[in-house]
Amino acid sequence: MSIYAVNKICYRVVHEPELRQALTDAPEQALRAATPPLSEEELQALLAGDVGRLSKLGANHFLLHQLGRFRLLGLDLPTYAERIRAAYRPG
């Protein structure tokens, strides 16, 4: 398992409109087709739009925010930012 698989999904989102469409139409299927494969934990976190969890797993933030920018997996930029803030809120 490597967080690279998550980062690569986020990278591809910027450059592949067809992947953005697939992540909108059938997200689990699109994520299960990823190469290299995502771990089950990464896949479930992506499906849930749990960017706080993905951040804690070591995902690259610059890449991760692209999910919010392109409004994928239940995210938009305000939701993305709020979930990152929540993950790092003290206490």
């Binding site: 990278y11 933030h61 610059f62 991760l64 930012a81 990152i84 803030r85 993950a87």
Partner: protein, 273 residues
Amino acid sequence: MAEIVGGVGVPHTPHFPGIVDRDEPLGPQLRRLYGTAARHLRELAPDVLIFFTCDHYNIFFVESVPIFSIGVAPSAPGPSDYRELPAYTVPIASDLARHIQAAAVHGDFDVGMSQEFEFDHPVTVPLHFLTPEMDVPIVPVFVNGLIPPLPSAARCHALGARIREALTGMPGRVAAVASGSFSLEVGGPRLSATSHTGIPDPQWAGRVMDLMRAGDVARLVAEASEEQLARAGNAAGELLTWIAMLGLVGHSPAAFLEAQPDFGHAFGCWLAS
């Protein structure tokens, strides 16, 4: 010998072109700041721009992440990452680019060669404001300022100086462009209360301004450690493009330098020393 005439440093915030086009409240300030840099460049009348930029995970993320690379294609389109921004085909001075890349390698700088690529917004946004006619070809120099491990500030400065040497014996007037911020976090835990970006270290951005204003590039290079850049945000390594540009242009105090403190970045103009 090629005449090195000066340089500029500007930010590349992707929503700036739209803010200006829609005449939003920040528009007049952006028009003035980019306009000042553009006027400075026009007065320098360069035949070519050495353009220092950081790829934003668009060209180099999957196959390989070069620490330095020079684009040698005849031209390249862009931006690849913001299709809603104005699209350009950017001319590249490819013979000069190949010459500089070879000279750098022969001078013990292991600079890669990029033969086919699309530019991303850190190249097209500055050119949109500086040379929108795309009538001045560029030599793109990619500096890895975003994906750790980063090159040292000293190495980036030396690369600029090496390119200056490589221009010896080449014809024409050469200016340099740097593109990027001094403190910026995109998408990470240090975002602001109201945005997906943040300015984690405004004090550092101010310190960079002070040192540039004083022309004290040696101290800037000494203080811009990888740790300091990391403290200043996950995009604060973009400062390395400014340091490389100053290595090429020389250490005279800036002819113009003005910050946008809310953004952690600045606009600067230099005459070659």
